[in-house]
């Protein structure tokens, strides 16, 4: 009997395709000694190692969260046929790893690590007299015999969680140490970061199953769980949108710079027109139109998640299609410069075909610009998601995203006393991702862009 039914969303497929192609891309770059030396420059710094590990952790979460399936429901006693029915709830491997965090709903708001709800309700005591008080939470600290033990229990459970993480980290880092100890790169920074992340994650999972580390939101959902689910949205948007943009920008830019003449005129006209439109309006208009399309054709989507996923992919496409102008301009300028060089002229003289000149002589020399754009755009897109969600043209509210969290947190903060934890959760996860992406992309740019070599010089 089947126990799970695998659900493949379009975005799941895309993220794994993306991961595979990126791995292939880096594998191919290994062969080139100049590229290898540049990567060594990036990873030769402790900052490069540490930020890469953080980014890797985020990507791992996103990948785990992209394996979706529906669990089979328990067979009903009165059921006649052998048919297996599946839960309407789609879960991912990440949900399994996080344990009960996803399902432990409370009634409404509760503060981080709280045992009681945030709002008073009418209750009746054993004698039937009604009174108003903060009710006990259903799940947080349910294992405690006496609420007064919370302090000591927190310390104890934290130690257990950290110990679990410590053991895991020791095994994980130990294996790497065994294979990599001869390397000259600053692996120690990577290992320290890994150990910290593993311990922190183990602690979060352990204690997050006992308490609500970041409290709960209005519907009683665990805020920490929501913030972690936002990782996939952020990472995917940051990579997919650039991936959509790359082929357009690269092909048009190289074509304009290489063929010149009317091709150049047309491409220049296209990107000037596009970049003169206020970006946010173009994106908003496109998203709204797609939303109209979804609303008019509900029959294409079987479950709610697929609808949200379709809107998400549309958003990635729209962001990609509206943002290729900058890279295209860079590609055109660089191709113009390269196609004047002697070796390209020589290739012409030998009668090498246009296609071959572009793929063998021009493309390899502009790859660094593509790479720099890819890493630089990533953080910008993650930040843009929050703004778009605020405007109402971002991620579908049914999908977890930091933008949607910030959006709701805005009114929560103006309550008295303020509800700050939703905002903090989104802030922490978003900030650490964007910061490490920014720091890493700076290093990549310094290593790959010959012009900014000056930056470190005094």
């Amino acid at each position: 009997m089947d126990t799970v039914k695998i659900v493949v969303l379009w975005s799941d497929l895309l993220i794994y395709l993306l991961a595979a192609s990126l791995t292939l891309f880096f594998w191919n770059m290994r062969g080139n000694p100049i590229t290898a030396a540049r990567w060594r420059q990036v990873f030769g710094t402790r900052l490069g190692m540490a930020t890469f590990v953080v980014l890797g952790a985020y990507i791992m979460i996103a990948l785990l969260d992209s394996l979706h399936f529906r669990l089979a429901l328990e067979e009903d006693p009165g059921q006649k046929s052998d048919q297996v029915y599946f839960d309407n709830q789609v879960v991912s491997v990440l949900d399994l790893a996080l344990g009960d965090m996803a399902t432990e709903h409370e009634r409404t708001y509760s503060a981080p690590f709280a045992l009681q709800s945030f709002e008073k309700v009418n209750m009746k005591n054993a004698d039937g007299v009604s009174y108003r008080d903060f009710p006990r939470l259903e799940h947080a600290g349910a294992h405690l015999a006496d609420p007064a033990d919370r302090g000591s229990d927190l310390v104890l459970q934290s130690l257990i969680g950290l110990a679990k993480g410590g053991v895991l980290a020791l095994i994980f880092v130990g294996m790497q140490w065994f294979f990599l100890r001869g390397s000259t790169l600053p692996w120690r920074a990577a290992w320290t970061t890994q150990a910290v992340i593993i311990c922190f994650a183990a602690w979060l999972i352990h204690i997050g199953n006992l308490y609500h580390v970041l409290g709960t939101d209005q519907a009683g959902n665990d805020v920490l769980y929501k913030s972690i689910k936002g990782v996939r949205t952020g990472v995917l948007l940051g990579t997919l949108a650039t991936l959509v943009m790359l082929p357009i920008a690269v092909s048009l830019g190289i074509a304009a710079g290489y063929f010149k003449g009317w091709v150049d005129d047309v491409v220049q006209y296209l990107y000037t027109t596009l970049s003169s439109i206020p970006g946010i309006l173009l994106i908003a208009a496109s998203v709204l139109l797609f939303q109209v399309y979804i609303d008019l054709n509900p029959e294409f989507f079987e479950i709610g998640l697929e609808k949200a996923d379709a809107r998400f992919i549309a958003l990635c496409f729209i962001l990609g299609v509206t943002s290729w102008a900058t890279l295209c301009r860079l590609m055109r300028a660089e191709t113009l410069k390269i196609s004047q060089l002697e070796y390209v002229q020589a290739a012409h003289a030998f009668g090498v075909s246009h296609f071959r000149i572009i793929t063998r002589h021009i493309l390899p020399n502009v790859v660094h610009i593509i790479l720099i754009t890819f890493v630089l755009d990533f953080s910008a897109l993650v930040l843009a998601e929050a703004v778009l969600s605020y405007i109402g043209v971002g991620i579908d509210p049914a999908m977890a995203s930091w933008g949607n969290m910030i959006n709701t947190a805005r009114s929560e903060l103006s309550r008295e006393p303020a509800i700050w934890w939703t905002l903090s959760g989104a802030f922490f996860f978003m900030f650490s991702l964007v910061l490490s992406a920014n720091l890493f992309s700076d290093l990549v740019r310094d290593a790959f862009d010959p012009r900014t070599g000056l930056e470190g010089a005094a």
Binding site: Y269, L270, T272, T273, L274, S275, S276, I277, P278, I280, L281, L282, A284, A285, S286, L288, L289, V292, Y293, D295, L296, S379, L383, A386, V387, Y390, I391, G392, V393, I406, A409, R410, L413, S414, A418, L423, F427, M430, F431, V434, L435, N438, L439, D442, T452, L454, E455, A457, A458
Partner: protein
């Protein structure tokens, strides 16, 4: 110079036609007049007659590009594209879906936008350049490296957090100024000071970092080495030699933005309740008023093209070697 500007303005015409064509395709072909009628009249129970009626009332009953029935020149003018999109060139924006005069709305809402955007812009540049100059004085030291790290951290924080945080601390906790609102009289500054400060602080990270890069690039030039060899003080080199020369790249980035200040800031205006063009656009997006969005796209493109022309002109002023022809 005059001939140059005229030529640039003529070049702008095909770009603006392109912009119109693109928005037209988005709004009328992807989302056909029938769909528009349906969503305006309510999704269900709409008869074909009601749709036709709505289309005639709102002028959507014509063909898209080519009207075969009308003869001669009118075959191109008696179409939806001409009546809805091309008249934007005369800055005739028509009426919004809710029946308001867009031109009047825009000219009225422009000024609160400028009142917010201009001070933010000017103070922002001034603060960023000052901070960058201070950091450049310590270039190559540990202080410089830490400053860069701080800049990168500041720019990793979403704009929304700056706004929400600023509103919470200044207006709610300390109760120094009103949280939001606008009053176009003498005490408008009370409402504007918080958004301006938030806007400036939010921009420091990216701005100061960019200016620092420009200054440092300039500082590695030969003329700086010569100046140092002459025995000039570091302060004098920084202010008399590096700063004027770094003005050229600064101008490219800055001048193009000046006309777009009229468009206002979507986020700032909606968070702080300022009735400018930014909140106008946001309201239009949220209520799906495509007539307003289309007009704002056109205005934004015009302002951007003006910005590009201004940039070229400012080059000749900042760098006497540049000649426009």
């Amino acid at each position: 110079m005059f001939a140059y500007i005229v030529r640039r303005l003529i070049y702008a015409v095909p770009i603006l036609i392109g912009v119109n064509l693109l928005t037209f395709i988005l709004f009328f072909i992807v989302n056909s007049p029938d769909d528009m009628a349906r969503s305006q009249l309510g999704e269900k129970y709409v008869t074909a007659a009601a749709i036709e009626n709505w289309k005639i009332e709102n002028g959507y009953d014509k063909p898209l590009f080519h009207n075969a029935e009308a003869g001669g020149f009118y075959a191109y003018t008696d179409t939806i594209f001409y009546t809805k999109s091309m008249r934007l060139f005369a800055f005739d924006f028509g009426r919004s879906e809710s029946g308001r005069d867009i031109t009047a709305d825009v000219s009225q809402r422009m000024w609160p936008s400028v009142a917010l955007a201009l001070p933010t812009f000017v103070t922002g540049i001034w603060v960023n350049i000052c901070v960058a100059l201070m950091v450049v004085m310590f270039r190559g030291t540990k202080l410089d490296r830490w400053a860069v790290l701080v800049f990168v951290s500041l720019m990793s924080i979403s704009y929304l957090f700056y706004i929400i945080g600023g509103q919470y601390m200044v207006a709610k906790l300390w109760r120094l100024v009103p949280i939001s609102g606008f009053n176009p009289t003498a005490d408008a500054w009370k409402f504007l000071i918080l958004p301006v400060v938030v806007g400036v602080v939010a921009g420091i990270g990216a701005g100061a970092r960019w200016y620092r890069t420009l200054f440092i690039e300039e500082a590695s030039q030969d003329y700086v080495r010569t100046a140092r060899a002459k025995g000039l003080s570091e302060i004098r080199i920084l202010f008399r030699h590096i700063l004027p020369n770094a003005l050229i790249p600064i101008l490219t980035g800055v001048v193009v933005l000046i006309p777009t200040l009229f468009m206002g800031s979507l986020l700032m205006e909606s968070f702080f309740g300022i009735p400018g063009l930014g909140s106008y656009m946001l309201d239009a997006i949220r209520s799906q008023d495509f007539a307003i969005v289309r007009s704002m796209v056109f205005i934004g493109s015009v302002l951007y093209i003006i910005g590009l022309i201004l940039t070229d002109i400012s080059y000749t002023w900042a760098d006497p070697r540049v000649r426009l022809n």
